[in-house]
């Protein structure tokens, strides 16, 4: 795995953020793998980004706030994160992926009604990360492939979120309009 030390640091901080229900930190932490994900297009980095972002969203959901067993639930989440951390430190990627899968299953256990919402949370988390990766200069189709999404899923969100800085305007506006007008003459 690329830059596993960065992931280890992210996961350690994720544990604290879960206990403190610190949604802002979870969102920020989920973005810390984006640079690596964009360059190496490593699915494990992407999976961590999506999972950490989803945890933030799940905590944000009111249902979880009402959950009286939050401390127990948070402890469970963190137990799985400990498993992920241990696998990472040993460089055992097969175990790392299994532990990550267990964590996702644990999230799914929240409540039967919540299961569908969780699926949607993960889909939206993938779209959120995709729009960030597109912002970083990777093409729409390549980004969609990396996240297991379609271009349909991300084009609208990517366009709204990307800041389209001045450097992206590569051809003069008038020149491009002329090209189009000339073609349809």
């Amino acid at each position: 795995m690329k830059e596993s030390n960065n992931i280890i640091d992210i996961l350690k901080k994720t544990k604290r953020a879960i206990i403190e229900k610190d949604i802002t930190s979870l969102k920020e932490l989920s973005d810390r793998t984006i640079h690596t994900a964009s360059i190496y297009q490593d699915p494990d980095n992407i999976a961590i980004a999506v999972t950490v972002y989803s945890l933030g969203k799940i905590i944000q959901k009111k249902e979880t706030e009402k959950n009286k067993n939050w401390k127990k639930l948070a402890a469970n989440f963190n137990l799985f994160i400990d498993g992920i951390l241990l696998a990472l430190k040993k460089g055992d990627m097969e175990k790392f992926r299994k532990q990550l899968e267990y964590l996702r299953k644990e999230i799914n256990k929240l409540s039967p009604d919540f299961r569908k919402q969780v699926q949607e949370v993960f889909r939206k988390a993938s779209i959120n990360k995709a729009s960030k990766i597109y912002e970083h200069g990777i093409s729409l189709e390549q980004t969609a492939k990396m996240l297991g999404l379609t271009i349909w899923d991300i084009s609208e969100y990517a366009a709204q979120k990307s800041e389209t800085p001045k450097i992206t305007a590569t051809v003069n506006v008038k020149q491009r309009l002329k090209q189009a007008m000339d073609f349809f003459k």
């Binding site: 640079h35 729409l140 590569t170």
Partner: protein, 229 residues
């Protein structure tokens, strides 16, 4: 004969903003053909037909094929395997043109490369063509790769090595859905009416619609196009 080549992004923008009929009207105004590679058809029709959220939009695009508005390269006598072979070559070169350290960055995918492959094939046959691509990366790579390098460096906070010679040499000219709706507006094909007869507001609304559905265009560019009117 003139050919307008589409990648997925432009057609998705137009159908999502309810402006796909513009394509039909524009085609009626010029002696031209609209072509999509088979890989683009997969992305805009075959795959979304299996996703409830996008099924209807995929059907609308299928209708454009059924009506002969959109065609596949085979309609021009272009061999499918030739497109696939050129696509592979372009993908391989383009995805080895920007490096972070020793790591090549995979920037583009099959559909995007297939449109470029078609442009190259048509250029060789001296057939005038224009590429319609809403997404930013492919356009930047061929129009101003230095700017794509700057963007990658700025966003990834790392030094990017650009191997300009690796970028396939294709004489590709790009427009977006934005320019298509502009042409439709100029040709009087847009039938919306503003209560104050403010035509520029209509143009601005069209341009913003394309931006918000996926076209990579900045607010400054929209402002300028609206001013030009």
């Amino acid at each position: 004969m003139k050919i307008l080549l589409f990648d997925s992004s432009t057609l998705i923008t137009l159908v999502m903003s309810g402006m796909e009929s513009t394509l039909k009207e524009l085609k009626g105004s010029c002696k031209c053909e609209y072509i999509i590679p088979n890989s683009v058809k997969k992305e805009i029709i075959d795959r979304p037909l299996e996703i409830k959220r996008y099924e209807l939009d995929a059907l609308k695009l299928q209708k454009l094929i059924d009506e002969g508005i959109l065609d596949l390269p085979e309609s021009l006598g272009v061999n499918r395997s030739e497109v696939e072979q050129k696509t592979k070559q372009i993908l391989n070169k383009a995805n080895h043109s920007f490096f972070s350290g020793k790591e090549p960055i995979n920037l583009i995918q099959e559909g995007e490369a297939a449109v470029l492959a078609l442009a190259e094939i048509l250029n060789a046959q001296k057939i005038k063509n224009l590429l319609c691509v809403d997404e930013r990366t492919t356009r930047m790579m061929f129009e101003k790769p230095e700017n794509l390098k700057k963007l990658l460096q700025k966003k990834l906070h790392t030094n990017i090595i650009l191997k300009k010679d690796e970028i396939p040499k294709i004489n590709a000219k790009f427009i977006r859905s934005t320019e298509l709706v502009y042409v439709a507006y100029k040709k009087g094909m847009i039938k919306y009416r503003n209560p104050n007869n403010n035509k520029k507001q209509i143009l601005s609304a069209l341009l913003w619609a394309t931006k918000l559905k996926g076209a990579a265009i900045s607010p400054d560019e929209i402002k300028e196009i609206t001013r030009i009117g």
